[in-house]
Protein backbone atom coordinates (compact mmCIF):
# COMPACT_ATOMS: atom_id res chain seq x y z
CA UNK A 1 0.00 0.00 0.00
CA UNK A 2 1.38 3.40 -0.98
CA UNK A 3 0.67 6.41 1.14
CA UNK A 4 0.22 9.62 -0.80
CA UNK A 5 0.18 13.06 0.73
CA UNK A 6 -2.46 15.03 -1.13
CA UNK A 7 -1.84 18.76 -1.31
CA UNK A 8 -4.53 21.10 -2.51
CA UNK A 9 -2.88 23.59 -4.88
CA UNK A 10 -3.66 27.28 -4.33
CA UNK A 11 -4.76 29.45 -7.25
CA UNK A 12 -2.93 32.56 -8.43
CA UNK A 13 -5.45 34.71 -6.55
CA UNK A 14 -4.83 32.73 -3.33
CA UNK A 15 -1.06 33.17 -3.74
CA UNK A 16 -1.46 36.92 -4.29
CA UNK A 17 -3.42 37.24 -1.05
CA UNK A 18 -0.86 35.06 0.73
CA UNK A 19 1.95 37.23 -0.67
CA UNK A 20 0.30 40.35 0.75
CA UNK A 21 0.12 38.76 4.19
CA UNK A 22 3.77 37.67 3.89
CA UNK A 23 4.81 41.28 3.25
CA UNK A 24 2.73 42.45 6.23
CA UNK A 25 4.29 39.68 8.32
CA UNK A 26 7.84 40.58 7.26
CA UNK A 27 7.31 44.20 8.38
CA UNK A 28 5.68 43.03 11.64
CA UNK A 29 8.63 40.70 12.30
CA UNK A 30 11.18 43.45 11.57
CA UNK A 31 9.46 45.81 14.03
CA UNK A 32 9.05 43.00 16.58
CA UNK A 33 12.71 41.98 16.46
CA UNK A 34 13.79 45.61 16.87
CA UNK A 35 11.31 46.32 19.70
CA UNK A 36 9.84 43.12 21.12
CA UNK A 37 7.18 44.99 23.13
CA UNK A 38 5.40 45.38 19.79
CA UNK A 39 4.71 41.67 19.49
CA UNK A 40 3.52 41.00 23.03
CA UNK A 41 -0.12 41.78 22.39
CA UNK A 42 -2.62 40.00 20.16
CA UNK A 43 -4.63 43.23 19.94
CA UNK A 44 -1.67 45.17 18.58
CA UNK A 45 -1.16 42.44 15.96
CA UNK A 46 -4.86 42.44 15.05
CA UNK A 47 -4.91 46.24 14.73
CA UNK A 48 -1.71 46.19 12.68
CA UNK A 49 -3.18 43.53 10.39
CA UNK A 50 -6.43 45.43 9.95
CA UNK A 51 -4.48 48.49 8.83
CA UNK A 52 -2.02 46.71 6.53
CA UNK A 53 -4.19 43.92 5.10
CA UNK A 54 -7.54 45.69 4.90
CA UNK A 55 -7.53 49.47 5.42
CA UNK A 56 -4.56 50.36 3.20
CA UNK A 57 -5.60 48.06 0.31
CA UNK A 58 -9.20 49.35 0.57
CA UNK A 59 -8.09 52.99 0.48
CA UNK A 60 -5.67 52.26 -2.37
CA UNK A 61 -8.49 50.67 -4.41
CA UNK A 62 -10.75 53.69 -3.85
CA UNK A 63 -8.04 56.15 -4.82
CA UNK A 64 -7.27 54.28 -8.05
Amino acid sequence: MRLRLKFDRPSGRDLTVFGGYCVASAIYIAIGVAAFDFMLSFWVAAAYLLVTAWLIPTLARRLR
Binding site: F7, D8, S25, V33, L40, F42, L49
Partner: protein, 239 residues
Protein backbone atom coordinates in the same frame (compact mmCIF):
# COMPACT_ATOMS: atom_id res chain seq x y z
CA UNK B 1 3.95 27.15 28.59
CA UNK B 2 3.53 27.64 24.88
CA UNK B 3 4.08 30.83 22.96
CA UNK B 4 2.42 30.33 19.58
CA UNK B 5 0.55 27.00 19.79
CA UNK B 6 -2.40 28.65 21.51
CA UNK B 7 -2.77 31.03 18.53
CA UNK B 8 -2.46 28.28 15.93
CA UNK B 9 -4.27 25.28 17.45
CA UNK B 10 -7.78 26.75 16.98
CA UNK B 11 -7.31 26.68 13.18
CA UNK B 12 -6.34 22.99 13.28
CA UNK B 13 -9.36 22.21 15.46
CA UNK B 14 -11.59 24.29 13.18
CA UNK B 15 -10.40 22.36 10.12
CA UNK B 16 -11.56 19.09 11.63
CA UNK B 17 -14.77 20.23 13.33
CA UNK B 18 -16.05 22.70 10.72
CA UNK B 19 -19.62 23.79 11.55
CA UNK B 20 -19.62 22.00 14.92
CA UNK B 21 -17.59 24.79 16.53
CA UNK B 22 -17.60 28.58 16.56
CA UNK B 23 -14.18 30.09 15.97
CA UNK B 24 -14.27 33.13 18.29
CA UNK B 25 -15.08 31.24 21.54
CA UNK B 26 -12.66 28.51 20.43
CA UNK B 27 -9.91 31.14 20.28
CA UNK B 28 -11.01 32.84 23.52
CA UNK B 29 -11.00 29.40 25.17
CA UNK B 30 -7.51 28.78 23.85
CA UNK B 31 -6.29 32.08 25.31
CA UNK B 32 -8.33 31.97 28.51
CA UNK B 33 -6.03 30.06 30.92
CA UNK B 34 -3.30 32.72 30.61
CA UNK B 35 -5.49 35.79 30.12
CA UNK B 36 -5.43 37.06 33.68
CA UNK B 37 -2.16 35.58 34.89
CA UNK B 38 0.70 36.03 32.42
CA UNK B 39 1.42 39.65 33.36
CA UNK B 40 1.88 38.70 37.02
CA UNK B 41 4.09 35.72 36.10
CA UNK B 42 6.57 37.97 34.30
CA UNK B 43 5.97 41.02 36.46
CA UNK B 44 5.25 44.63 35.54
CA UNK B 45 6.42 48.05 36.68
CA UNK B 46 3.57 50.27 37.78
CA UNK B 47 4.96 53.64 38.86
CA UNK B 48 7.11 52.96 41.93
CA UNK B 49 5.80 49.39 42.29
CA UNK B 50 7.13 46.15 40.87
CA UNK B 51 4.32 43.65 40.73
CA UNK B 52 5.38 40.02 40.27
CA UNK B 53 4.39 36.68 41.76
CA UNK B 54 6.86 35.52 44.42
CA UNK B 55 6.64 32.01 42.96
CA UNK B 56 5.55 32.45 39.32
CA UNK B 57 5.23 28.73 38.50
CA UNK B 58 3.12 28.11 41.60
CA UNK B 59 0.96 31.17 40.88
CA UNK B 60 0.52 30.28 37.21
CA UNK B 61 0.02 26.52 37.40
CA UNK B 62 -0.31 25.55 41.04
CA UNK B 63 -2.76 25.42 43.90
CA UNK B 64 -2.95 27.63 45.88
CA UNK B 65 -2.65 29.84 42.81
CA UNK B 66 -4.36 30.17 39.45
CA UNK B 67 -3.40 26.73 38.17
CA UNK B 68 -7.08 25.75 38.12
CA UNK B 69 -7.42 27.86 34.95
CA UNK B 70 -5.46 25.07 33.21
CA UNK B 71 -7.91 22.35 34.27
CA UNK B 72 -10.87 20.78 32.45
CA UNK B 73 -13.11 21.90 35.30
CA UNK B 74 -12.43 25.58 34.55
CA UNK B 75 -13.30 25.17 30.86
CA UNK B 76 -16.45 23.21 31.64
CA UNK B 77 -17.54 25.75 34.29
CA UNK B 78 -17.18 28.72 31.93
CA UNK B 79 -18.67 26.71 29.06
CA UNK B 80 -21.72 25.79 31.13
CA UNK B 81 -22.21 29.43 32.13
CA UNK B 82 -22.17 30.42 28.44
CA UNK B 83 -24.58 27.62 27.62
CA UNK B 84 -27.02 27.55 30.54
CA UNK B 85 -26.96 31.20 31.69
CA UNK B 86 -26.64 33.00 28.35
CA UNK B 87 -28.13 30.25 26.16
CA UNK B 88 -25.09 30.16 23.88
CA UNK B 89 -24.66 26.41 23.48
CA UNK B 90 -22.23 26.52 20.55
CA UNK B 91 -20.11 29.17 22.26
CA UNK B 92 -20.04 27.11 25.45
CA UNK B 93 -18.95 23.92 23.69
CA UNK B 94 -16.40 25.74 21.55
CA UNK B 95 -14.92 27.47 24.60
CA UNK B 96 -14.55 24.11 26.36
CA UNK B 97 -12.68 22.63 23.38
CA UNK B 98 -10.35 25.63 23.01
CA UNK B 99 -9.59 25.79 26.73
CA UNK B 100 -8.96 22.02 26.89
CA UNK B 101 -6.51 22.28 23.96
CA UNK B 102 -4.53 24.91 25.89
CA UNK B 103 -4.52 22.89 29.11
CA UNK B 104 -3.39 19.73 27.31
CA UNK B 105 -0.66 21.50 25.29
CA UNK B 106 0.81 22.98 28.47
CA UNK B 107 1.31 19.48 29.90
CA UNK B 108 4.27 19.37 27.52
CA UNK B 109 6.52 21.46 29.79
CA UNK B 110 8.27 20.60 33.06
CA UNK B 111 5.58 22.04 35.35
CA UNK B 112 2.54 20.70 33.52
CA UNK B 113 -1.08 21.37 34.42
CA UNK B 114 -3.60 20.18 36.98
CA UNK B 115 -5.88 18.78 34.29
CA UNK B 116 -8.15 17.01 36.77
CA UNK B 117 -8.36 19.79 39.37
CA UNK B 118 -9.44 19.69 42.26
CA UNK B 119 -7.00 16.79 42.12
CA UNK B 120 -3.77 18.80 42.31
CA UNK B 121 -1.55 16.31 40.49
CA UNK B 122 0.42 18.01 37.69
CA UNK B 123 0.23 16.08 34.44
CA UNK B 124 3.51 16.82 32.68
CA UNK B 125 5.52 15.31 29.86
CA UNK B 126 8.55 17.46 30.68
CA UNK B 127 9.44 17.85 27.00
CA UNK B 128 10.50 21.49 27.34
CA UNK B 129 11.61 23.67 30.23
CA UNK B 130 9.13 25.91 32.04
CA UNK B 131 11.10 29.10 32.62
CA UNK B 132 8.40 31.71 33.27
CA UNK B 133 10.02 32.50 36.62
CA UNK B 134 13.15 33.81 34.84
CA UNK B 135 11.30 36.72 33.21
CA UNK B 136 9.83 37.24 29.78
CA UNK B 137 13.05 37.54 27.76
CA UNK B 138 14.87 34.54 29.21
CA UNK B 139 11.64 32.55 29.04
CA UNK B 140 11.30 33.45 25.35
CA UNK B 141 14.93 32.60 24.65
CA UNK B 142 14.56 29.23 26.41
CA UNK B 143 11.24 28.39 24.84
CA UNK B 144 12.44 29.16 21.32
CA UNK B 145 15.55 27.05 21.89
CA UNK B 146 13.76 23.88 22.98
CA UNK B 147 11.14 21.39 21.91
CA UNK B 148 8.31 23.79 22.79
CA UNK B 149 9.08 25.87 19.73
CA UNK B 150 9.17 22.69 17.64
CA UNK B 151 5.67 21.86 18.89
CA UNK B 152 4.57 25.34 17.79
CA UNK B 153 6.22 24.70 14.43
CA UNK B 154 4.12 21.56 13.96
CA UNK B 155 0.95 23.67 14.22
CA UNK B 156 2.40 26.40 12.02
CA UNK B 157 3.23 23.92 9.25
CA UNK B 158 -0.07 22.09 9.69
CA UNK B 159 -1.88 25.42 9.36
CA UNK B 160 -0.03 26.22 6.13
CA UNK B 161 -0.74 22.71 4.84
CA UNK B 162 -4.43 23.28 5.67
CA UNK B 163 -4.34 26.68 3.97
CA UNK B 164 -7.95 26.44 2.76
CA UNK B 165 -9.08 27.07 6.35
CA UNK B 166 -7.68 30.59 5.96
CA UNK B 167 -9.35 31.46 2.65
CA UNK B 168 -12.22 33.85 2.10
CA UNK B 169 -14.31 31.02 0.66
CA UNK B 170 -13.88 28.93 3.83
CA UNK B 171 -14.72 31.96 5.94
CA UNK B 172 -17.95 32.54 3.98
CA UNK B 173 -19.12 28.92 3.90
CA UNK B 174 -18.07 27.69 7.34
CA UNK B 175 -16.88 30.33 9.84
CA UNK B 176 -19.54 32.92 9.02
CA UNK B 177 -22.38 30.38 8.90
CA UNK B 178 -21.45 28.59 12.12
CA UNK B 179 -21.70 31.57 14.46
CA UNK B 180 -24.23 34.43 14.67
CA UNK B 181 -21.41 36.64 15.97
CA UNK B 182 -20.07 37.19 12.45
CA UNK B 183 -23.37 38.37 10.86
CA UNK B 184 -23.82 40.62 13.91
CA UNK B 185 -20.35 42.10 13.44
CA UNK B 186 -20.93 42.33 9.70
CA UNK B 187 -23.67 44.90 10.35
CA UNK B 188 -20.92 47.23 11.60
CA UNK B 189 -17.79 46.01 9.81
CA UNK B 190 -17.37 45.07 6.11
CA UNK B 191 -16.66 41.49 5.06
CA UNK B 192 -13.04 42.22 4.08
CA UNK B 193 -12.25 43.35 7.62
CA UNK B 194 -14.01 40.31 9.10
CA UNK B 195 -11.74 37.94 7.18
CA UNK B 196 -8.69 39.84 8.39
CA UNK B 197 -9.95 39.58 11.98
CA UNK B 198 -10.50 35.83 11.48
CA UNK B 199 -6.94 35.40 10.20
CA UNK B 200 -5.36 37.60 12.88
CA UNK B 201 -4.51 34.86 15.40
CA UNK B 202 -2.79 32.76 12.76
CA UNK B 203 -0.88 35.82 11.57
CA UNK B 204 0.05 36.64 15.15
CA UNK B 205 1.20 33.11 16.02
CA UNK B 206 3.17 32.57 12.82
CA UNK B 207 4.81 36.01 12.78
CA UNK B 208 5.65 35.87 16.46
CA UNK B 209 7.18 32.41 16.11
CA UNK B 210 9.52 33.67 13.37
CA UNK B 211 10.29 36.95 15.15
CA UNK B 212 11.17 35.35 18.50
CA UNK B 213 13.27 32.71 16.74
CA UNK B 214 15.24 35.46 14.97
CA UNK B 215 15.49 37.42 18.22
CA UNK B 216 16.79 34.41 20.17
CA UNK B 217 19.15 32.91 17.60
CA UNK B 218 20.22 35.63 15.18
CA UNK B 219 20.30 38.69 17.44
CA UNK B 220 21.22 37.04 20.75
CA UNK B 221 22.79 33.67 19.81
CA UNK B 222 21.12 31.56 22.49
CA UNK B 223 22.06 27.91 21.86
CA UNK B 224 19.47 25.43 20.63
CA UNK B 225 18.96 22.43 22.90
CA UNK B 226 16.31 20.13 21.49
CA UNK B 227 16.91 17.41 24.06
CA UNK B 228 14.00 16.25 26.23
CA UNK B 229 13.34 18.77 28.99
CA UNK B 230 15.65 21.36 27.44
CA UNK B 231 17.10 23.77 27.02
CA UNK B 232 19.25 22.75 29.97
CA UNK B 233 21.09 26.07 30.09
CA UNK B 234 18.03 27.56 31.81
CA UNK B 235 16.77 26.63 35.27
CA UNK B 236 13.53 24.77 34.66
CA UNK B 237 10.73 24.95 37.21
CA UNK B 238 9.02 21.78 38.38
CA UNK B 239 5.74 21.17 40.25
Amino acid sequence: MSWAAHDLEPYAIQKHMKLKVAFVPLLIGSYSPDMMTKWFVYGIHLGPWDLKASDPAQFHRGWPGFGFTHSFLFGVAIGLILWKVFGWKLWGLSFIIGQAAHAITDTGDTVGTMLLFPWTFHFHLGAWAYAGQTGRQTDAAAYFSGLGSMWDLVFLLYGLYSWRVLTGEYFDTVIYCADAFWPWLNRRVPRGALIVIYRAAFFYGASRWIAWTIWAHVIHHYPYDLSWGGPHWVHAAHP
